[in-house]
Symmetry: C2
Subunit: 181 residues, 2 copies
């Protein structure tokens, strides 16, 4: 499978089978994330793999509410990865301050996507979540108060009837120009 | 080549040959970026491909200074991509405000890495730059004042003697835990 084929079958999976995810597959996804590039090689991330069913459900319950119910599918996923944002190194911090750019978030995006693309290649489904009750999840996992959670990633085998959807994206002409804005 | 192999040969390339990059290869990298996922499918990005040599050199000259000379290699790269951060859609904006998370930057990271991984598969080299004179580059390319540049990406064929370096990364145990922080 070439890279473009991999991208095309990578999609947000919101229906999971109850099959468990093998630890070696989780570790391969972590390895893909670990090798991700980052500003000044700061690697400002930690990945907490939550695969204890009880604990996972506690986390899942903090990704939706009666008002915002669209993440309820997280209860189905056998694994949730909590990605924390860690202190970058001095070089990256100086750069971020001087340039007023949160490089850490760009880095988190890259590493998270490495994880998800590797999962896709292994036949696993993922969904990146930005919507969750951060303080509750930090308490559950004893994450220090000062730390921030970047994203959550659900992980599991897609349910059998899962199909690859066509991607709805802007046209190339809307997002790419040559030599001018 | 599987995904982990692709990741391992993807590296920051800072020495380029003077061979031009074929437009169809640039377009394939853009396609990989275009298909990237984003928060609420906002796709908050534009890619300005700067491959006019004169214009490209103007941009390159705004990525380093006598005080910060480490980006001087950009003069060698035949192409520089300027990635602007565009307004996300309403859903993503509401989410960002409520959750105090700049999803846009995570999105920019993901799309940028799609671009770079596709380039790697095509035998091209890239380097993501966070350090540049944003205002000068905006003026050169007539980018509206209100817009922000996320990153620049250099693109070109690596020079012949380029070797794949071992990646220096934290150990897995430093970045991954199970069911606790």
């Amino acid at each position: 499978m070439n890279f473009l084929e991999l991208i095309k079958i990578r999609q947000s999976v919101r229906k999971y089978s109850d099959k468990n995810v093998e630890t070696e597959k989780i570790e391969k996804c972590i390895e893909a994330a670990r090798l991700a590039p980052s500003a000044s090689n700061a690697q400002p991330w930690k990945f907490i793999v939550v695969n204890n069913p009880e604990l996972k459900n506690k986390i899942a319950n903090d990704t939706f509410s009666t008002v915002v119910p669209f993440n309820k599918f997280t209860l189905q996923a056998p694994v949730i990865i909590v990605v924390t944002i860690e202190k970058p190194n001095v070089m990256s911090m100086i750069g971020s301050r001087l340039k007023n750019k949160e490089y850490k978030l760009i880095d988190i995006g890259i590493a998270t996507e490495h994880f998800c693309l590797q999962a896709t290649e292994l036949g696993l489904g993922t969904c990146i979540l930005g919507w969750f009750n951060e303080n509750k999840i930090k308490k559950i996992l004893n994450i220090p108060k000062k730390k921030t959670i970047g994203v959550l990633i659900t992980l599991g085998y897609p349910c059998n009837e899962y199909i690859i959807r066509d991607k709805k994206r802007k046209n190339t002409d809307e997002i790419r120009t040559y030599n001018k804005y």
